[in-house]
């Protein structure tokens, strides 16, 4: 069980939106994490500087949060390393092959009213619902 946190989640979501607006306002860029991160891999994009800085900011966030709030960050991650390795491989490949993830297609694409992003979002959401259903309730769950 995890606690339903509508207020904190909506505030956190609004902050993600604020970050997306910042990138568009200053640099005219979409805040898609799979795009930003994957272009740091070879062949490295020419404008790698802000991309690397963005990823550093993402990674620094929990450290900053804990320093400021002095609250622990609740987290439960599967300890099944084979499962997590496979999941990582699929997430990395699928998001870049499909041109975006939850941020690029989900947040930014839906905000641009892009049909492509809407379809992509519906596809990965439905597939993820089915995957969780099969893991938890289907395959001997």
């Amino acid at each position: 069980m995890t606690e339903f946190t509508p207020v904190a989640s909506a505030i956190g979501g609004a902050m993600i939106g604020l970050s997306a607006i910042m990138l568009m306002l200053f640099m005219g860029r979409i805040a898609g994490i799979s795009g930003i991160a994957s272009r740091l891999l070879p062949p490295v994009a020419e404008d790698y500087g802000w991309r690397l800085a963005f990823v550093v900011g993402l990674i620094a966030a929990p450290i900053v949060y804990q320093q400021v709030s002095e609250q622990p960050i609740e987290q439960t991650v599967s300890g099944d390393l084979v499962l997590m390795g496979l999941a990582g491989l699929l997430v990395g490949f699928g998001s870049v092959f499909g041109g975006g993830c939850t941020s690029g297609h989900g947040v930014c694409g839906l905000s641009r009213l892009s049909v492509r992003s809407l379809i992509a979002t519906v596809v990965f959401m439905v597939v993820a619902f089915v995957t969780v259903f099969l893991v938890r309730h289907g395959l001997g769950g």
């Binding site: 609004a14 607006i21 963005f54 991650v77 999941a87 990395g92 998001s95 939850t102 905000s111 990965f124």
Partner: protein
Amino acid sequence: MARIILGLVAGLIFGLGLVISGMSNPAKVLNFLDLFGTWDPSLAFVMGGAVLVTLVGYRLVWARGAPLIDTRFELPAKTDLDPRLLSGAAVFGVGWGLGGFCPGPALTAIPLGASGTMIFVPAMLIGMWLARQAPAGLLTARSAQS
């Protein structure tokens, strides 16, 4: 230099948003995806909050005509629903459903140091690298033949 600072600040705000919303916890994501079990609707509020703010913000920004420190808005031009988009999204969905991490939260979760995260992130980077190596016409050529 301005770009570096902007990137850093935008990344930090994004990451803090993920932490505050609870999305750096894969259990919360998996519970959202578990409609018929321990359902936690929080993720819908994250998406709702993010899209609402961005939807309005983008329009105000675009009304300016150009970004502040760059010459033009770099928006995706593709509009077709090609097999690459659909298959990529489906593969991503399977991985997301298995691990409960999408790319942003996985990176943000690194300092929390869970062993699953430490395996997930390098595997994700390998997957991203592989997808970038895939030839542009990989699926389109095959589907045109069939």
